[in-house]
Symmetry: C2
Subunit: 375 residues, 2 copies
């Protein structure tokens, strides 16, 4: 038998952050596609749309009128999945608790953050300063929601900042915006990550050059970032302020990206220095311009920020490391996506091109947004 070549042979990779695997089938990219294609995205949007419920001055379906905001604008989701009303009392039952039918009431809050008054912009096309303002908006919500949780009886809680971009990812409006869902508990995905961060034990002493966590010990995500910066093959963008964007070794989505600090542990966005915040805005824009340029379309994705649950009281005790996941569905073109269906749902997630191939393709596109090129 021949030697194992990850660019040719089917193999399985392990994701130490969540303890799951991904099946990689690099030989499969040549498969012809006869399935569903997606409708092309409207190329040019107006700067203001009278029908958009997020544009400044417009009235939302709940009847509330948006202010004529100039910067970012935060409001309560008109159809929230979580409610902030006090927790109802559990029904008293004579039956003993049954592990097969366990439910508990939860509380929380859902907010929307408009990134910019202009209807036609996206994070990729906004100025770096405007993205710095968006991060300020996230910080404000994180602080506010954190105190709301602490003031209520919640002993724990989580603030999930995310964005669904593009109709393919369930976004109901093209106006640039994200969401923040706060929960009176730590949801499964961040809970799993925090568990793996807390229980990480490096097999041997990592290189002295690798930065350590706040507790002085090796930190899974810091060591990982430091390794990726050295290995280079999966790096898409690097910002000297301390951020690196990689197609992670264990990526599931074809062009998935993990954006994380590589110089020090930053439990939440509240601990960002002004330089780090500006660097974050800069690298986000760069990554998103590469995304748009890959298939010359506004690249759809879901993006999410993982950080410390509840704004940390004592950040030096935190195991969390601020990071962003980008999960974009496109695989071959603006209209052909990857489906994570049958085998992926019933067996385990599967991808076709390797993480290294995806990173190369993202590095190879222009740094200038396709819509800004003249000529």
């Amino acid at each position: 038998s021949t030697e194992f070549d990850p660019t040719e042979h089917p193999h399985r990779r392990f994701n130490p952050l969540i303890g799951k695997h991904v099946l990689v089938s690099p030989h499969r990219t040549k498969r012809p596609w006869k399935g569903q294609t997606e409708a092309p995205v409207l190329a040019q949007l107006p700067k203001y749309d009278a029908e958009c419920y997020l544009c400044p001055g417009n009235t939302r379906s709940g009847g509330i009128q948006n202010p004529k905001y100039q910067d970012t604008y935060v409001f309560d989701n008109d159809f929230p999945a979580l409610l902030s009303s006090p927790l109802p009392t559990q029904r008293t039952s004579s039956e003993p608790p049954n592990p097969m039918f366990t439910s508990s009431p939860v509380r929380g809050q859902c907010k929307v953050i408009c990134y910019h008054p202009r209807h036609d912009l996206t994070l990729a096309r906004m100025e770096v300063d405007d993205i710095v303002s968006v991060i300020d908006g996230w910080k404000g919500i994180y602080i506010e929601e954190g105190s709301m949780l602490r003031e209520s009886s919640s002993s724990e809680g989580h603030v999930q900042i995310f964005e669904n971009r593009g109709s393919m990812m369930g976004a109901s409006a093209p106006h640039p915006h994200g969401q923040v869902w706060t929960t009176s508990y730590v949801p499964d995905e961040p809970a799993t990550e925090l568990h793996h961060l807390a229980t990480y034990s490096p097999p041997s002493t990592p290189p002295a050059s690798h930065p350590r966590g706040l507790d002085g010990k090796p930190h899974l995500l810091l060591s990982y970032a430091a390794e990726e910066v050295e290995r280079k093959e999966r790096v898409v963008e690097l910002d000297e302020s301390g951020w690196v964007a990689v197609v992670p070794f264990w990526a599931v989505w074809p062009f998935e990206i993990l954006l994380l600090p590589y110089k020090r542990q930053i439990p939440s966005i509240l601990q960002l220095t002004p330089e780090e915040q500006e660097g974050l805005a800069r690298i986000m824009k760069k990554v998103l311009v590469r995304y748009d340029n890959l298939f010359s379309c506004p690249f759809p994705y879901s993006m999410g920020l993982h950080q410390a649950p509840l704004p940390p009281i004592d950040p030096t005790k935190e195991v969390a490391q601020t990071h962003f996941h980008f999960y974009p569905p496109l695989l071959r073109s603006a209209s052909v996506r990857k489906f994570l269906v049958g085998f992926e749902m019933m067996g385990e997630v599967q991808r076709d091109l390797t993480a290294e191939q995806a990173a190369t393709r993202l590095r190879d596109v222009s740094e200038v947004h396709y819509a800004e090129k003249v000529g």
Copy 2:
């Protein structure tokens, strides 16, 4: 505060089969939908399509001609995600193994099973006898793949039978067919289920009327099925041969269904009695007719069969219980789906209507397929 009412208050349910939660937001079904809608499905397909690569006698893209099959037809996937060639040797490396960059070569096989020669049929519209033949086809593949795995050096392995139906679920052809991917390892999803089945400990002695597992002890999925049959509220179909179809208490997809035995533990489809096999075909058809009738369209879904890894040598030692998951994406109509995106990917899965409401709606539709109604 008021009493907890799961039909009104946001709550979290626990799935003991995989150890994960789902956020349930029953008050959210009134939300208007302005996002993406799906293209309507072609109402009537021809019985034979010269362009279809699965129809009898046609030539596939690999150049191979299908036989003029009359029943089911099994062939090797022309673009397999797994290869049966011998495992390549791991690259020898001087570096110590790194938990952040762990990969291992895998082997396996991908097969396609055409359910029926007729291009226009689906499982919902096939005769019960034809579905019995499909189950025979699955048994054949399961036995064959199991011996292939045993003959190779694999000490473990898994045969994943599944179906992606409808272009919304990534199916590349409407011709009725499913797939079988065999792997030289147990993938994450079944491995997690088997772990939870093996470590299940009932909080108290279950009712004497509940059947026990092959080892004489309470079995998570058997006790669960017995409870659901008694409680009735989540039952969609029941077949006296020993099968029940429920919207599970912890359902994620709006109209998700779990189809499982409620009378005895059946580690794999190889242990089915002829009555159980016919009952399985009958209840599958009934469930799928209800699905199609819900929005009067060929209901898209991914379906998968979980059973014992490798055809069991000694079935009495198995903890596995044969069951089918149906994950259909539609939420409000033939064209409006549920998106499991931002919060669901970054936080935890979320649903709008409750499992009980979904079961009621599925019970309320006609038992006669909408396309068969005259007048």
